[in-house]
């Protein structure tokens, strides 16, 4: 089955997608094809990945490279696939929330904590942090702010450590 999936995907999207053996996942090389690939994965008769399990954003650490991992599952055929896309900071990523509605909140969280903005998202705003928070905490180069609303963040942690 996995070979069949590889054949289908490489036939349809020749250069945009690449299978990596050691990490057992697919890498999308062309960020503009994300929406096409996602729609195909969800709607095609052989694949039917109708359940987006998890959308994780990660920071690669080396200057400003980010990645998003999509874990998809099909409830009809019971197979599983992982798709990743890695990109520079200011690359435009399409939102997939019109395909899998669960991505709505997951992408809001990715924006909130990692700072990745998704195009065409119906409601792009912070979800877990307060609305007026500055910065995106999960980035590797995030520094805790000195002041929050005029209150200084204590540097002397001897009270509780």
């Amino acid at each position: 089955m996995p070979n069949k999936i590889k054949d289908i995907l490489s036939k349809k999207f020749k250069d945009a997608i690449n299978f990596s053996e050691d990490q057992n996942c697919y890498f999308i090389l062309d960020a503009t094809k994300l929406e096409n690939i996602a729609t195909f994965l969800c709607n095609s008769k052989d694949l039917q990945y109708n359940y987006l399990m998890c959308l994780s954003a990660y920071d690669l650490g080396e200057s400003t490279k980010f990645g998003i991992a999509y874990n998809l599952y099909s409830t009809h055929f019971k197979h599983y696939i992982e798709i990743r896309i890695e990109f520079e900071e200011n690359c435009e990523i399409q939102s997939v929330s019109h395909i899998w509605k669960t991505a709505n909140w997951h992408e809001r969280e990715a924006f909130d904590l990692m700072g990745i903005e998704f195009k065409n998202h119906p409601d792009m705003k912070r979800i877990l942090l307060p609305e007026d928070w500055e910065g995106h905490p999960l980035r590797k180069d995030y520094k805790t702010p000195e002041y929050y609303k005029g209150m200084p963040v204590p540097k002397d942690k001897s009270y509780w450590e």
């Binding site: 399990m53 998890c54 994780s56 954003a57 991992a69 877990l128 905490p137």
Partner: protein, 378 residues
Amino acid sequence: MFKVIDKSIINTDEMVLNMGPQHPSTHGVLRLKIITDGEIVNKVEPIIGYLHRCFEKHCENLPYEQIVPFTDRCDYLASMHMSHAYSMTVEKLLDIKLPERVEYIRVIVSELQRIASHLIAVGAFGLDVGAITPFTWTLRDRERILDLFELLCGARLLYNYVWPGGVSHDLPVKFIERTYEFLDYFLPQIDEYNQLLTTNKIFIERSADVGVLPLDVGINFGVTGPSLRASGTNFDLRKDEPYSVYDKFDFNIPVGEGLMGSVGDCWDRYYVRVLEMKESVKIVRQALDSLPKGDVHEVLPKKIRPNKGEVYSRYESARGDVGFYIRSDGKNIPTRVKMRSPAYCNLSVLNEISSGWMISDIIAILGSLDIVLGEIDR
């Protein structure tokens, strides 16, 4: 079902009602912004983040073994499930094979935890609908399970018991005996709850046909667990992709059939949980009957330092499908830990299934989805 009044005939204003973070019936610090037209709700917007404790950021500074207590505090009503899910993911990363005894103990503890979590879900749903007595009864029975856990690892709620590579302590001397006693006591209690809630006409009026979740909408929104099984599918990770030793046990997956209303209404979500408690009792009994001997600390690694790689692993917790996505750089500290919590996705479907109902029904729907804010906010 109610229809929103056509605004061209009557000039009514929409009222924005705030069911604030402090409220007796939201299950934790959840804020609901409800836009209503009289008593009928047009839109519900849940606003979360009041319990955000930066779990994922903490994980990037802690060694793998020290993350286990943090996972407990994510879903504090089903802590064993969280730490079991996390330990399974780390073991997948490290590629360890566990001794049989460890797997059996983990299954026993997980299923007892499932019963405890469902007891609160069932009781709290009754409380939301107005029946106060079943809540006290379910808590009374949950105390017995917590007594068993206290005997096992010393803690009642946040256990730090399931470690990557094994469990922290072996079963103490009287544990098996007391668990059998509890199982014999508990099964008739479920019939008592059924008498008070399940077949009660007023309860059925309040919860049947309310908040119907169609199956394809549920899957699209990522709903999992009993909330999805009530909509008619038997999608359960313990049977579809068995992990640990679940393939050795014989149990059924309760599926919602719409006995008292439509398939996928609040009554179904409630009844699936009641039936799941019965199935968990069966599993615990089978596991106790065939518990192998062995040393639980056999493969417990002293230092966890996995190779570079990523892994995503899933687990069926009381609320649904918990996923952990861990990226490792070869150090003893993970680079990225992402927890996919089931209640997060279950809550996102609230707006979809609640437009057109009244405010009392919103509370019932929220209660039937069974959310825990600790898991949503992390």
